[in-house]
Symmetry: D4
Subunit: 148 residues, 8 copies
């Protein structure tokens, strides 16, 4: 068995690297959004031309990013959604809802303090983890049936 795992959400800590490093012996292809914050924000206007209004600046970028994220979400078997401590992170919740409607297996990764605010997201998940190590263990168990 081989898994496609999409790593959605927070882009300001190294949680993706921790999971990929911990799972490097597993038959998993990891995908994720562009994590270069500046490039992700400006990609639309950088390629397709400047906009005076910030709304359209953002709009062109968000749509361009959607080419990548939709493709990766559609091909994912498992979607891990990470909620961190900073920013609104509505795009993380949006990806979780998108994945839920596609019937993907969802793992949510967040600290205990977000538990109540994320209850609808957690209710759509097959696992709720607090650490990247737990996510690695979940993936390892899924593929090999072995416990930590």
């Amino acid at each position: 068995m081989h898994l496609n795992v999409y790593l959605a959400g927070e882009i300001h800590t190294d949680w993706r690297e921790q999971i990929m490093s911990g799972a490097k012996d597993l038959a998993i292809t990891f995908t994720g959004p562009v994590t270069d914050h500046a490039a992700s924000d400006d990609c639309g206007v950088a390629i397709l031309g400047q906009e005076e209004k910030k709304f359209w600046h953002d709009h062109k970028g968000a749509k361009l990013n959607a080419i990548r994220t939709r493709k990766a979400l559609a091909e994912a078997d498992v979607v891990v959604v990470r909620f961190g401590d900073k920013y609104r992170q509505w795009n993380a919740a949006f990806d979780a809802g998108y994945a839920a409607a596609l019937g993907k297996s969802i793992i949510v990764l967040h600290g205990a303090d977000h538990q109540h605010a994320l209850k609808e997201v957690d209710a759509a998940a097959l696992a709720v983890a607090e650490t990247p190590e737990q996510v690695v263990s979940l993936l390892r168990y899924t593929l090999h049936g072995t416990l930590p």
Copy 2:
């Protein structure tokens, strides 16, 4: 033409009433989540029995609420998602993502200050409004082709 419109998101202001009132002459069936905050939080344990852990308390409630929201979202032609000023509102973004993956027509309703943080949600929408009056005008135009 008749529209099913789901009103997702914020439950602490009267935006739903404003829209329903403004659109009361239109052939629209409005649905939405349970907006009694206390009932929505406690419904799971109130019906199915208490839980010691807050996580499971929330989990039972969130799942029960999903029976209603999934049904209404699945039957909606248009999903209006309102982001207000308070709380994390991850469930609003989750509903938006869910609606997007189902191919629903999405109208986002939020103030200018949330524009950057909501760019991925806005990019999946067919209209971004700032006031309930605009939403009513959008629905009226959709049904009758008339402008304000």
Copy 3:
């Protein structure tokens, strides 16, 4: 909002009547399998001709019953699956799996003694109830947002 609710599973107690009676003021259309055990077992051969082998006797009946159950399951918003104390009830679990793959909202109704054996079924459900009264309360909350 109007709900189509399919009542699957056990046919030897009056749980269906209890739910329908308790929910008779709600905007719900209830459906279910043929609950006349003898008719359900013999329908195939009674209409289409006798079989010497019990396997084909059962086969013709089970397929005929599937015309009704597939139609009702496909149109259901909510599927309530009841596991009682007698018989193998594999058809109840089959219906639950069928409903899960169709993305239906599932409510499982069973006693505490079956909890471990039904853990996979419960994990696919949005609510696990122990009494018909609880099911009525779940449906009432879904439609009206009111708690018992």
Copy 4:
């Protein structure tokens, strides 16, 4: 032609090994659930933390196991469902229903004594076998058109 075959159901006899051994010259990728009974029961709490209530202990495990089984069922061309002599085996019937709704080709494997209780499951199948050898012959015929 290459087949993906999911082996669902009983985990206490060596029927999977018999089928895989008999079919080892065929272009088949076999998948199945985690068959280590203890690991399968405890995986949720072992990775994500203990629960006091047995229900949630089981719930966390059943959901985690669903990541693997949903993926494998979704990719299967053929689902073989084995019903043995012990336990309730509702998860086997659940998997059969899930596979049926996905339109998978189903082979049921059970002894003659379960024939009446499994008539709904058998009615959804393309073949009903009594021995692992028969399943191997069915798969061999499917791929090569050769009879035993």
Copy 5:
């Protein structure tokens, strides 16, 4: 419960009338193809203009008839396919295959002499009847659970 039943196949005997007459007390909406053989053959050129080649004459008619049959097949819960004694009736088998791929419940109606030639069609059906009276009984049982 209400059923949409599409009556496909032979257009030269009164089997449709027999079924509709026998089922006239049931909550069933019956649909079927245009059964005026001449109109059905010539409709394309009669409305859209003559063709010199018989192939395009037939082609225009067959496509026009498909507007009706696809709509009715798509909305049917049950598709009854009748094979009579005359003509090739490839369109009946085509409709059966079309219905099977859509997951419709299929009832095949044919005499014993066609049994071997129709085995693939029968294998995709939930019931194989020999008389219109049996079809009526199957529909009555499906709706009311009563046997003849």
Copy 6:
């Protein structure tokens, strides 16, 4: 049988009225885009605020119009696409492609001079008509099996 018929394409002649008038005795619900050219062009900025760039002016309008057209196309049984003599009419061809991918029955309505340029669109259609009267006859035949 009742038909939902979407009338797509040209908005500068009275072909829609001719069809609706000719079919007024038939069980058909007709839908179509907003045919007030000025309103259709300006709806986005009229409701949601002015744009300096013509591109975004058009963009907001086209997206708003999509709420109506997607809903009506999704619910249509038959899509009639009219190509007239003026303008580029790429939106008509876009609607035809959209309808084709949804599996809708398509009737194309155009003059003989456009035949070569529309060959890909015609190839996806079940009928190619030259006059509104022919479209009425096609719809009448579909519903009643009667020829002109």
Copy 7:
């Protein structure tokens, strides 16, 4: 580009070999049903045990064959359906209908004498050929854009 091509229908002449031989330089994977007539008829009882009634003998065989044909049809890009001169060939028309409902590209291969009887099948096809050589040319053009 690589094509999966399913060769359905007649099993008594060498048309499959002619196509596969003519197309052996093309990037095509050909599949088809079991063409050993005796094995195809008897496979069910040979593996799963004898039946006294011919109906069930055929039924078990037809269902077993469906495991192979459904898999191959589902994965096909193009379905070629050959109608020959002998037998009823209802299974060929059934496969054509099945492929049509799945949205497959269909090529029908038959002599001019069957043209009227096959008009519904031809109307669902993207090409109607009379010889295997034409089918090879169609496939070669599809892949390479070259004409004979």
Copy 8:
């Protein structure tokens, strides 16, 4: 990540070569229609026999070309649709609508002069480019997150 990109539309300039050349270091499989104009127009009659009427000449060709384009569109992750200066190009808009209904990520490539006429097509796209170089940059960013 690997992308399948379908290049639809204009066949009279070298825009496809420019994109493929610029993106030759990227993990992309490009597909497109047959771009030999004469072969594309005549393929139907060249292989399947002459037609007297130009309509059927075109019809046979357009259907044959659809085998290739449907396959490639169905497998595409991204569909680039180019509108040039010559011809009606209704097939380009048809492909865009087809791709939109399938949920594909669409990039439209056209000059500023077509902006108003293409507003409905642009509204369904995730990016609107004016040059092949921009398309290459969009694809490069999608795969690697790097800006020009």
